[in-house]
Subunit: 387 residues, 2 copies
C-alpha cells in the first residue's frame, strides 16, 4: 500500500434547497475540488458517489451518480454508487482512498450529496427510518431521536452526566456554526434556550438535534506527487477504516470503539495525538459518548471535558469546529465528506474565523450511519496527517 | 496486483417470490457460497452488496446490505452497498475482485439481490424507469423496451437483420432456459410463437423480453491458495472492467465496445479466445448487437451467426447457456453475479444438462445497466480463465 493524499475539497453551504436537484447541488463542489487540485479532469480514474435517500425523496434511484456525473460532464470512467445511510459519504471516501492506496487509481473522486428537505417533515422522517431494519426496528416505530435518547439516558445513569452538560455540547456546536459560512444554523444559543426548547425524546430537546437539510461535498484523492504540486500543505490519509455493527454483548467494545482502535493502529497514533476532530453528533449529547468511545477521555469523563471547555475551538482538543451535524447540518450522504473537508481546512490553516491555533497536525473524522439492533450499523473513522 | 480467484458461487432460482424478503432471498446463496468455498466465514474481510431498487419496492433503503448480513449472521466487517442499476451485481463483483487483487482483502463476499415483482406491473415498470435520468429520459416517458427497440431498429436498417433472426435469439435462450433449473422460464418457444406474441415496442415482442422477477446470487473472491484448496478447478479473474456512458458521437466506439476492449487487453486475450459468454439480453434481439460490440463477429455479421446456430450451447461460441436474461430472468441486482456463476459452472464442468463440451477455458460475462442519453449508463465485462 502506498501513501494517498487529499487534494481539493469543497462543499456547498448546507441548507434547504427545495428547488435544486442532486446534480445541481453536486456540480459546484465537484468542479471546485477539481480546480483546487490543479489536475486535468480527464485524469480522474474512478468516481465514488455517496447518497442515502434520493430514491425516496426525489424518485431518482439506481443511477444517481451517473446523473450527477453527466451534469458535471465527466463520463467514461467507472462510477460507483455507494450507500451506507448517514455514512454514505465516508464510504465513498474509504473506497477512493483504497483505490489510490492500492495503486488501482492515481486520482479518485469522492462525492457525497443529499436532499432531505422536501417540504414535508413527516415524509423526511419516514425516509430516514429506512436506515434501520424495517422488519424489526421499523415495526417498533422507533426513529433516530428515540434510539439516541435511550443511549444518552443509559450514559447519564451510568456516569452522572447532567442535562446542562448535554446542552453545553449544543451551545458549543452552535457557537462553532456561527463562525462557519458553510453551516445551516449560524445563530448562537444558550444553555437555557437549549434546555427550554421543545422536548423531542427525553433528554434530547429540539436545539440538540441536527436540522433537516440538503447539500453536497466533493474531494479528490491522489498521490503524494499531486499533493506536493498543489502548493498547499499536503494532507495524508493515515488511515480510513469502515466497520459494521455486531451482536455486541455487555462489556464488549462497541462499534465506535472497535473501528477507532483499528484506525489509530493503522495510522500509528493514539487518541492523545489527535489535535482536531469531527464526530457524528446527529444529536449533540451523543458527542459526549463519542469522546469516551474514541478514547479522547476515559469512561465517564466526558462531562468534565465539556465543563472545562476542552473541546471548544480554542480548547485542548477542538471537536466539531465546523458546527458539527448539530449546527452545520446533516444532509446524510454529504456529511462524511464535509467532516473530512473541515479537518483538511483546519490542517491547512484555511478555517478562517474558526481556525485552531497552532495549526493541527493530526486530525480525525468519525461518521456513523444507520441502526441495527440498537447499535450504529456503520462507523467510519479517518485519520489525517499534515506534512 | 496479484491474481484473484472465484471460490464458491450460488444463486436462487429466479422467479416471483412475493412473500420473501431481500434478506431471506440472499441467505441461502451467501451460505451455500461460503460452504462451497471451504473457508471460515470469520475470515471474510469485506462484503459488497449490489441492489438497485429495493428502496422503491420494499421500502428498505440505505442499509440494505446490513439488513441482509444481519440475517446471515455476518457482522463487524465493512459492508458496502453498491448500486448501478442492472449492473449492481457486477459492480459488487468488480469491487470484490479489486479488494483481493490489490491485497486489501484475502477473502471478499459479493452479493446481488433484487425484488422486482410486487404484484403491480405498473409499479415495477415505474421503478425500473429510475435507471434513466428522470429529468431527461424520465420526462419523455421512455422505458427500456422503447430504448432497446430504437437500437434494434437502427441495427436492422443498417445491417438487414430480419425479424426471424431476432426471434431466433429468443428461441435459443428459451431452449437454454429449459435446461437450467435456476431459470424463471423453462418452456421452449418457436420462432412463430415469438413473432406472434404481443408487440411491446416494435420489433420487440413479449417473448423477446425478460420477465419481472426476484432472486439473489452470491460468490466469494479469494486467493489462489484458497482456490486450490477447494478441490475444484481454480477459476481466475483475468480481468474485470467497469465503464460508463459517454457523449458518444457517430462513428466513435460505443460503451460495450470500449469496455470489452479494455477487458480483453487486461486479460491478454482477444474475442477469438472466448469459449463461453453470458451477455446482457434484457431483450433477446440486443444479443445480436452485443455479438458485434464484443467482437464475437464483425459488424453486420451477427444475423449470420444466429442463422448458423453458432451461439447455441452446442455451437462454436455458446452464448447465454443459462437462458440469459430472456429466460433465466433478470432480478437486476442479482443478474451480474448470476452471469458469473454460469460461466464458473461451465468452466468447472458443473452445468449438467446444458454443459458445453469440451469444457471451456476462457469465458466472458457482460452486464449492462441504466440508460443515459440513449447509451447504456454502465457496462461491466469480466473475463475468467480456468487453470
Amino acid at each position: 500500500m502506498r501513501e494517498s493524499y487529499i487534494l481539493g475539497v469543497s462543499m456547498t453551504r448546507f441548507g434547504k434547497y427545495l428547488e435544486r436537484s442532486l446534480q445541481d447541488l453536486a456540480y459546484d463542489p465537484i468542479w471546485t475540488a477539481i480546480h483546487e487540485s490543479d489536475v486535468d479532469p480527464h485524469d480522474i480514474d474512478i468516481a465514488f458517489v455517496g447518497n442515502a435517500y434520493a430514491g425516496l425523496i426525489t424518485g431518482q434511484e439506481s443511477v444517481r451518480g451517473q446523473v450527477i456525473m453527466r451534469e458535471a460532464g465527466i463520463t467514461k470512467i467507472p462510477i460507483i454508487n455507494v450507500e451506507n445511510a448517514c455514512a454514505s459519504g465516508s464510504t465513498a471516501f474509504y473506497l477512493a482512498h483504497r483505490a489510490v492506496a492500492s495503486g488501482q487509481a492515481e486520482l479518485a473522486l469522492a462525492v457525497g450529496v443529499e436532499k432531505l428537505f422536501c417540504g414535508d417533515t413527516r415524509q423526511s422522517l419516514k425516509v430516514l427510518s429506512t436506515s434501520s431494519d424495517l422488519d424489526i426496528e421499523g415495526r417498533m416505530g422507533i426513529l433516530f431521536a428515540g434510539i439516541y435518547a435511550m443511549r444518552v439516558q443509559t450514559h447519564m445513569k451510568n456516569h452522572g452526566l447532567t442535562r446542562e452538560q448535554l446542552a453545553m455540547v449544543a451551545v458549543k456546536n452552535h457557537d462553532h456554526g456561527a463562525l462557519n459560512p458553510h453551516a445551516q444554523y449560524r445563530d448562537r444559543v444558550t444553555v437555557e434556550e437549549v434546555l427550554n426548547s421543545r422536548m423531542i425524546a427525553d433528554p434530547i430537546t429540539l436545539l440538540m438535534t441536527c436540522p433537516l437539510g440538503d447539500g453536497a461535498a466533493a474531494l479528490l484523492v491522489g498521490t503524494k506527487e499531486m499533493a506536493l504540486r498543489m502548493g498547499k500543505r499536503p494532507i495524508r490519509i493515515a488511515s480510513s477504516v469502515l466497520g459494521s455493527f455486531d451482536f455486541t454483548r455487555k462489556g464488549e467494545p462497541t462499534i465506535a470503539c472497535r473501528v477507532s482502535k483499528k484506525a489509530y493502529d493503522e495510522a500509528g497514533v493514539t487518541p492523545q495525538h489527535i489535535q482536531v476532530a469531527e464526530v457524528h453528533d446527529a444529536v449533540a449529547p451523543i458527542e459526549l459518548y463519542l469522546y469516551e468511545e474514541l478514547g479522547f477521555c476515559g469512561q465517564g469523563e466526558s462531562g468534565r471535558m465539556i465543563d472545562r471547555r476542552e473541546t471548544w475551538f480554542d480548547g485542548k482538543l477542538p471537536v466539531n469546529t465546523s458546527g458539527g451535524l448539530t449546527a452545520k447540518g446533516h444532509p446524510a450522504g454529504a456529511t462524511g465528506l464535509a467532516q473530512v473537508a473541515e479537518i483538511v481546512w483546519q490542517m491547512r490553516g484555511e478555517a478562517e474565523e474558526r481556525q485552531i491555533n497552532p495549526i493541527p497536525n493530526v486530525g480525525l473524522a468519525e461518521n456513523g450511519g444507520g441502526n441495527m439492533g440498537g447499535e450504529t450499523a456503520v462507523v467510519a473513522v479517518h485519520i489525517l496527517r499534515g506534512h
